[in-house]
């Protein structure tokens, strides 16, 4: 656990970057620091590994004051990932990953074995081992950055906007894999981003910081969306809060309707009219066709692909979106293997939503309650 206790950073010119920040980052969880530029989030992160020294206040790691530890040793126990990966351009991918184990005195052979293992773990082919960073794409470099931070198996990971320099598609991939990896490893992670959507997706808890280094609100993502404490947080969290909060609501039992389907290569039967769902041999939905427009056998080219598909075990947001995006107005629901289980209409999802509970408001956050 990392604990900030009344931490302030004031620069000689009088600028206050971080103002009396008190915060706990629990072990094994992802704590996201989010806020606009100038809110002190990166400064706060760098005070953890003492790349920046606090003016006052203490930061403790598992009860030990980090100010009393030897800086290089403190840092070797904390993985660090930054925006442009910060890989060493003059070292091969393998040597980059092995940096901290080598600093800790691990022998070369063992370091290489570990590094190769980590490359696989972050989804890179081991054929990349002997390449140099400049020979990799931005997304691949970022994966190497993550592997390097994990190399010495540190209990703590500090991540400063690690995914913001890659394109949106790659970013989403990296985020998903990061969550999967964290599911296996359970590191204590402090993650800095300016992107509230990323914060809400990745954080077990989210700290919203305001310009001047004030902590505006610290809460889990669902609570943050449901109960922003003030206008600043409400504005920062942004629009569509009600809809986005559905990402954190598990789908309850929905009244699913059976859907008649047609396989690729078959003819649409005379009984069907309107939209018909097309499935493959494993009963996985492929798309919709409009019965009266189909002449002969159903082919891939005829498929309408606008509808999204939701998992029955996923969040409510998926189910609602499936219903809203479907050309037949019937949202396609599948099981975990991707096989069709039925369809649901938007009003049925809304009924389910009305019956779910919102995160309960904590007394201290009540409008009118005295706040700091």
């Amino acid at each position: 656990m990392i604990v900030f206790d009344g931490v302030t950073k004031e620069y000689p010119d009088g600028t206050v970057a971080v103002d009396h920040l008190s915060l706990e980052a629990p072990s094994g969880k992802i704590t996201v620091l989010v806020g606009p530029s100038g809110c002190g989030k990166t400064t706060s992160l760098r005070m953890i590994n003492r790349m920046i020294h606090p003016t006052s206040g203490t930061i403790t790691l598992d009860g030990k004051d980090t100010g009393r530890m030897k800086e290089s040793e403190l840092r070797r126990g904390m993985g660090y990932v930054i925006q442009h990966a910060g890989l060493f351009p003059h070292r091969t991918v393998l040597d980059n990953v092995g940096t901290v184990p080598r600093l800790l005195g691990m022998d070369r052979r063992e370091t290489e074995r570990r590094s190769l293992e980590l490359l696989e773990r972050v989804g890179l082919p081991t054929a990349f081992a002997k390449r140099y960073p400049a020979q990799l794409s931005g997304g691949q470099q970022q994966r190497v950055g993550v592997a390097r931070a994990l190399a010495a198996d540190p209990p703590v990971m500090l991540m400063d906007e690690p995914f913001s320099a890659v394109d949106p598609v790659v970013r989403e991939q990296l985020q998903d894999e990061f969550l999967r990896l964290q599911g296996d490893l359970g590191k204590t992670i402090v993650f800095v981003t300016h992107d509230i959507d990323e914060a809400i997706k990745l954080g077990d808890q989210v700290a919203v910081l305001q310009v001047g280094g004030h902590l505006a609100q610290l809460a889990d993502p669902a609570y943050l969306l449901a109960h922003p404490v003030n206008d600043f947080v409400a504005d920062f969290v942004g629009r569509d809060r009600g809809y986005r909060a559905l990402s954190f609501q598990p789908t309850p039992h929905l009244p699913l309707a059976a859907e008649s389907t047609v396989s690729l290569g078959e003819r649409v039967s005379d009984r069907d009219d309107g939209w018909v769902l097309v499935v493959d041999g494993d009963n996985h939905p492929l798309g919709w066709v409009q019965a009266e427009r189909v002449r002969g056998e159903v082919t891939t080219e005829m498929l309408h692909r606008g509808g999204t598909v939701a998992r029955a075990s996923g969040p409510l947001r998926g189910a609602l979106d499936a219903a809203l995006s479907s050309p037949s107005r019937r949202g396609v629901i599948v099981d975990d293997s991707g096989a069709l289980v039925g369809t649901v209409k938007a009003h049925e999802v809304l009924t389910a939503i009305e019956e779910t509970a919102r995160p309960e408001l904590v007394d201290a956050d009540h409008p009118g309650a005295s706040s700091s």
């Binding site: 003059h90 140099y132 400049a134």
Partner: protein
């Protein structure tokens, strides 16, 4: 040509002396410029005085330096140490700025990553900053090498043996053969220094070849 063949032994001796007088200061100058350049980078206030101050050394006419140095460092005028010291000063003059700028060209995020990995300042210099500054430093070293080969010949005027003696000799006797031989030998020597520096740089910077210069 016949003059060259008749004096092959002389040419060989003086070339070797020339290599010694121009080459050794190149190494010594580099060793001195590394910490000075690092300081100029590390402390912002030192950058301007260091780069400008050491750069000024280069403007001291070499002949004046060759004549004055023996008095300053208490040596005989014919002692080759005078030339070694003078040439080392010229090398430092050219390299302090190069080293400082080379170290400064190491990307900020790379330095930060190195610090965050737990490199101590000294280790970071040798493991990250210096290797990445090699291409820039090497470019400066190539200029210094050519400059040294050329300036050393001036020491012939005060009688220090090296290729420059062919110029004074030819001038005194109004006889061009040794002058031509001296010029050709100087050019060959400068090229040789250049080839050696390029070769060493290539060995030290495998990533530049692998990535075609992207870093």
């Amino acid at each position: 040509m016949t003059w060259f063949l008749d004096h092959l032994g002389d040419v060989q001796d003086r070339t070797l002396q020339h290599v010694y007088l121009a080459g050794l200061p190149l190494l010594l100058g580099l060793l001195l410029a590394l910490p000075l350049g690092w300081l100029a980078r590390r402390y912002k206030a030192l950058y301007a005085p260091f780069t400008a101050g050491f750069g000024l050394l280069y403007t001291i006419p070499s002949l004046a330096l060759f004549v004055l140095l023996p008095a300053i460092i208490h040596r005989q005028i014919l002692d080759p140490v005078n030339v070694l010291v003078a040439m080392t000063l010229y090398t430092v003059a050219l390299l302090v700025r190069t080293v400082a700028d080379g170290l400064g060209a190491v990307p900020e995020h790379v330095q930060q990553a190195a610090t965050a990995m737990g490199y101590t300042r000294v280790k970071r210099f040798f493991a990250v900053e210096l290797p990445l500054a090699v291409p820039v430093i090497s470019a400066g070293l190539r200029v210094a090498a050519v400059s040294n080969v050329s300036i050393v010949s001036v020491a012939a005027i005060i009688g220090i043996p090296q290729l420059g003696l062919f110029f004074t000799d030819g001038f005194n006797r109004d006889f061009y053969d040794p002058i031509v031989v001296g010029i050709v030998a100087c050019i060959v020597l400068a090229l040789l220094f250049d080839v050696v520096i390029i070769g060493v740089t290539r060995v030290l910077t495998p990533w530049i070849r692998a990535t075609g210069g992207r870093a």
